[in-house]
Amino acid sequence: MSTNAFHTPPPNGEGEMRAPMDFQSRRMRLNSAWRYAVNHAVTGLAVLSTLLVVAPLVAILIYLVYMGSSSLNLAFFTKIPAPVGETGGGMANAILGSGIVLGLCSVMGIPVGIAAGVYLAEFGRGKALASAIRFTADVLNGVPSIVMGIAIYSLIVMRQQHFSAFAGGVALAIMMVPTITRTTEEMLATVPHAIREAALGLGVPKWRTVLSVSLKTASPGIITGCMLAFARVAGETAPLLFTAFGNQFWSFRLNEPIAALPLQIYVYAMSPYDEWHRLAWAGSLVLIVMIMVAVTLVRIYASRGVLKGAS
């Protein structure tokens, strides 16, 4: 028998010469059958888990289309709600209102969230202030949305003596910030230090390195974080109950109560009228489609100009 590195006996001479592995032995065959079975079982479990995650989503979508699409017509997108007792009417003001409130909260929440994440990842390493911010963000993330609504109610609505689109935007913006901050921080942490050094080594100032190199490299992940935060607050009802309040009529001003799809759905779904129930289904469908369209558009916009071989 040849003595290669794997079969050399121990130098002290006490060990026996081991036989080379017999791949046809009964034990090996059993072993490989066992591994084969385990491999397939684990793969099966992974597939099953994926299905479990996706199934409710698909079921909800199908059910929404089934229940909601029959009430979708031109009036739904162009008319304001009809008074009680009359048929017809739509949710045009709520669609617009949702757009305004979401635009407002994105404009306020996304820059603040990203800026805080940049501070945590690029400037605050090891500083006490950074730990405090990180902790606050994590706690804020766990605050129930109704509490956020009440907080903004007492901070803004009580002081101004009226509900407003602005107050709704602030409530949603505060809900967005922690998610965006933590994702931004984590995504920036994945940018290799060598790339920052490359920029600094070229005489690029730190602020420019952060903007044009770190943030740019991390941008796909940061955009995903912003989209997740956006999609989450787009469906929030509780923080709007005490802030944007809702409105049965058109409203374009930021300092007036404004309609929003989740609020309208909430009101209609709670009502005793079948007609309103159907409109609530349609509103839910429109809300989900709006979120999906917004997320998809941002993704398409963000992926333009990605180069061949870019990682």
Binding site: R125, G126, P192, A194, I195, E197, A198, A199, L200, G201, L202, G203, V204, P205, R208, T209, S212, V213, K216, T217, S219, L307, K308, G309, A310, S311
Partner: protein
């Protein structure tokens, strides 16, 4: 054209570790100077002190005088202005992954706010030719990401990127240690050509490489510079016993 570098009583620390101890050294202009020594001896820290990259680490600290021409880089200038005059090439190629080949090479100018397209075009071409990469990439300049090139090409692109800002000094921290022999020899040829125009300081673990490209060689050990002399002398007739032990492979 390059400038000479004059280092006097340079000390550097990482936290409480005294990584460089009283280094005194004259690096002549327009020559290649190699720094050799076992891992952890302080050669990388030394080159990082020459463009003030050392201090980007929050726990790092340096004292002493480093003169580049007439300028004391720790007193008379900001880190940013110094780094524009001193190019650096790192151990592993570090292209900007989101940028095209063109943008990678132009990044030093573009990120500093330079926008003139004609001059950018010309600089990119000149730098890529100087780093012997032009012929291989000229058709994909704006189409391909810098990260899509092979390791050796990436490293030559990083050299082009450093050259594009027209530095006087080129610091190379083991520029070929992550590359295959063919790419390594290309990089060495390149250093050989570049040293007539730039002051080159190259850290290397490969003693043959030091012998091939550098006129002068310094031997570092445990944070001190043991010996600095012409490369010939260091490799044939070193004065210090420790240098001799190292180059004959008795330790390290």
């Amino acid at each position: 054209m390059g400038v000479g570098i004059n280092v006097e009583h340079l000390n550097a620390w990482y936290g409480t570790t005294h990584t460089l101890q009283d280094i005194n050294l004259n690096i002549p202009a327009n020559h290649a100077t190699a720094l050799i020594g076992p891992s952890g001896c302080g050669k990388s820290t030394f080159v990082r002190c020459l463009n003030r990259m050392h201090e980007t680490n929050p726990i790092a600290r340096a004292t002493g005088v480093v003169k580049m021409g007439d300028i004391d880089i720790y007193k008379d200038a900001s880190p940013v202005t110094i780094r524009r005059r001193v190019g650096m090439v790192f151990q592993r190629p570090n292209p900007f992954p989101t940028m095209s080949i063109y943008d990678n090479v132009a990044s030093g100018l573009k990120l500093n706010g330079f926008r003139n397209k004609a001059i950018l075009d010309e600089t990119v071409e000149r730098s890529l030719k100087a780093s012997a990469l032009w012929e291989e990439v000229k058709d994909d300049l704006k189409k391909k990401s810098g990260a899509s090139l092979s390791g050796g090409q990436q490293q030559r692109m990083c050299i082009a990127r450093a050259l594009a800002v027209d530095p006087e000094v080129l610091l190379m921290d083991e520029p070929a240690s992550a590359l295959d022999p063919v790419s390594t020899s290309k990089i060495e040829d390149l250093i050989f050509q570049l040293k007539s125009q730039y002051t080159i300081v190259i850290v290397t673990h490969n003693m043959q490489q030091a012998a091939r490209v550098a006129e002068n060689t310094g031997f570092f050990l445990n944070g001190k510079m043991v010996e600095f002399d012409s490369t010939d002398r260091i490799f044939t007739n070193p004065k210090d016993k420790r240098t001799e032990d190292y180059i004959t492979g008795r330790f390290g």
